[in-house]
């Protein structure tokens, strides 16, 4: 049965069991419920690139209070559902952003602020910034403006929540499906390998950091 909820996150064996017992509908209903809970609880890792970083403190603190919509900042990408990239990205930053994005656990989403991640913005002819972020990691919601006010950022959250609630196909699914496309683009600007590698031993960096 085509449920319309792409990239189901419920255990696939559970799905099989439910389908065997003729309860595929139950799965769709559970998926819908889980999507609702997901939309109500978004943990954010705010990666402050460019000028937009300054818009995030008022969004999350007393003035605009994103927590009332269940949007909370967390300290590590391991716990995050959403990464906010708040402006232009230099190649150097892109490495870190990719690493952070790949550490996040699925389902995960990306919001960018400003026009620079869309087409380069005022850095359109810069030698060391990327022009279109969507070529390197999939972007779910662009919040435009230079810079967007916290109201616009919150509107971006609401849009993302709607899309999660409706079970629409998200960026991380595109990333998984078109991994070669994204990895090729990343290699084109960053070179062959993305350092530091995932096996880095932080206690023995002087030995090359090999675990």
């Amino acid at each position: 049965m085509e449920s319309g909820f792409h990239g189901s996150d419920l255990d696939s064996s559970l799905k099989c069991k439910l389908e065997e017992s003729g309860m595929a509908n139950t799965h769709a209903i559970m998926e819908k419920a889980v999507n609702w809970f997901r939309s109500r609880s978004i943990f954010v890792v705010a990666y402050g690139t460019g000028c937009g970083a300054i818009e995030m403190p008022p969004t999350f603190t007393s003035r605009y209070d994103a927590e009332r919509m269940g949007v909370v900042g967390v300290a590590t990408p391991r716990q995050a559902d959403l990464i906010i990239l708040s402006g232009y990205l230099a190649y150097k930053t892109l490495r870190r952003v990719i690493r952070t994005y790949e550490q996040m656990q699925r389902p995960k989403y990306v919001i960018t602020l400003g026009s620079c991640p869309i087409n380069g913005g005022m850095y359109w002819d810069s030698y060391n910034t990327i022009k279109k972020l969507d070529d390197y990691i999939p972007v779910d919601v662009y919040v435009t403006g230079c810079m967007p006010r916290p109201e616009s950022v919150i509107e971006g959250f609401v849009l993302l929540q709607e899309r999660i609630k409706n079970g629409e196909k998200a960026g991380w699914q595109k990333y998984d499906e078109n991994l070669k496309f994204y990895k090729d683009n990343q290699k084109r600007v960053l070179g062959g390998h993305i350092d530091p590698s995932y096996e880095t031993d932080w206690y023995n960096l002087e030995n090359g950091g090999v675990a």
């Binding site: 996150d9 419920l10 889980v34 809970f37 997901r38 109500r40 609880s41 943990f43 603190t61 007393s62 209070d65 927590e67 009332r68 919509m69 269940g70 909370v72 967390v74 300290a75 590590t76 391991r78 716990q79 559902d81 550490q103 656990q105 699925r106 389902p107 932080w202 206690y203």
Partner: protein
């Protein structure tokens, strides 16, 4: 018996999470915000339980949250919930206060083993801070509990509750022990000024840094279970227990709100400041209370 234990865990899960939602609301109001809904912690928990897990550090790492949850559940089922009825008290006769005191530190120790295996520097720093703080936290609380055991001449919690029905509440008879235990409880709840293990601006999430998805959800759930168990333990020891569900909610809420209000007013101590303070002031108060129990009864 199994049915009662499951019912108790469900009750603690719901009450603990609603209290945590209330905590987030009160904190938001104090900071001039609206804050999330009171059910926000349920949303977070269900979302985290439905997340995928694609990192692996070996089995010891993932045993940490399970050991913590075991400690929380065992503490929960050993604490008598209602003072008059045997309902939800199925396992209470199996243990006494000494077992409880041991189980209360089982979680942090298990977590320390796990986080050490993970090797994240922030996690390790958080654990070291947590265990250092635990030295300071345990001392006044243990002295207070020993004082109560001497006063009641028994280490059975049910007996301590029964004593309070005839002899007056322990909060009135032994106020010094209560104050010492409450200062410890502020730390056991991870509130300021003793919130050093997971200090957000210093060690990120502390011990939780590397945990994600289902394991973070398990940590959150055991936190709510354990919070409920600790609140019930305090009202059993000092406020004469609760004879009905309303009394239980009222008394635990009073203790919980007191702890929150202490937490939101104070800033955070450094590690050595916290241990220094805990080893001096609350320990001294607890020792005075103990001396009063020994010499004046």
């Amino acid at each position: 018996m199994i049915f009662q234990i499951i019912l108790l865990i469900m009750l603690a899960y719901v009450v603990g999470f609603i209290y945590f939602g209330l905590y987030r609301n009160i904190l938001a109001r104090i900071q001039g915000r609206y804050g999330p809904t009171i059910y926000q912690s349920f949303y977070d928990s269900i979302k985290l339980f439905s997340k995928k897990n694609t990192v692996n550090y070996g089995w010891m790492f993932y045993l940490g949250p399970i050991i913590m949850a075991t400690g929380a559940v065992l503490t929960l089922i050993l604490v008598p919930v209602f003072s008059d009825s045997d309902f939800l008290r199925s396992a209470t006769s199996q243990g006494n206060l000494f077992v409880l005191l041991y189980l209360m530190v089982l979680g942090p120790l298990g977590n320390a083993l796990a986080v050490g295996t993970g090797g994240n520097p922030f996690g390790v720093m958080g654990v070291v801070r947590g265990l250092t703080r635990l030295i300071g936290l345990e001392l006044p609380f243990y002295i207070a509990v020993v004082g109560l055991i001497i006063a009641a001449n028994s280490s059975d919690i049910v007996h301590i509750i029964d004593m309070q029905k005839t002899g007056g509440l322990n909060i009135i008879n032994h106020p010094l022990l209560f104050i010492a235990a409450m200062i410890s409880m502020v730390g056991f709840f991870g509130e300021s000024p003793f919130d050093i293990p997971g200090a957000p601006q210093e060690v990120y999430s502390g011990p939780r840094t590397e945990f994600s998805g289902k394991f973070l959800a398990l940590l959150m759930s055991q936190g709510s279970l354990f919070a409920f168990a600790k609140l019930v333990l305090i009202i059993d020891l000092f406020l004469g227990g609760a004879d009905s569900l309303w009394m239980l909610v009222l008394k635990t809420l009073a203790i919980f709100v007191t702890i929150i209000f202490i937490g939101v007013v104070y800033g955070r101590y450094k590690v050595e400041q916290a241990v220094d303070f805990l080893m001096k002031i609350p320990t001294l108060i607890a020792l005075l209370g103990l001396a009063r129990v020994i010499w004046f009864g």
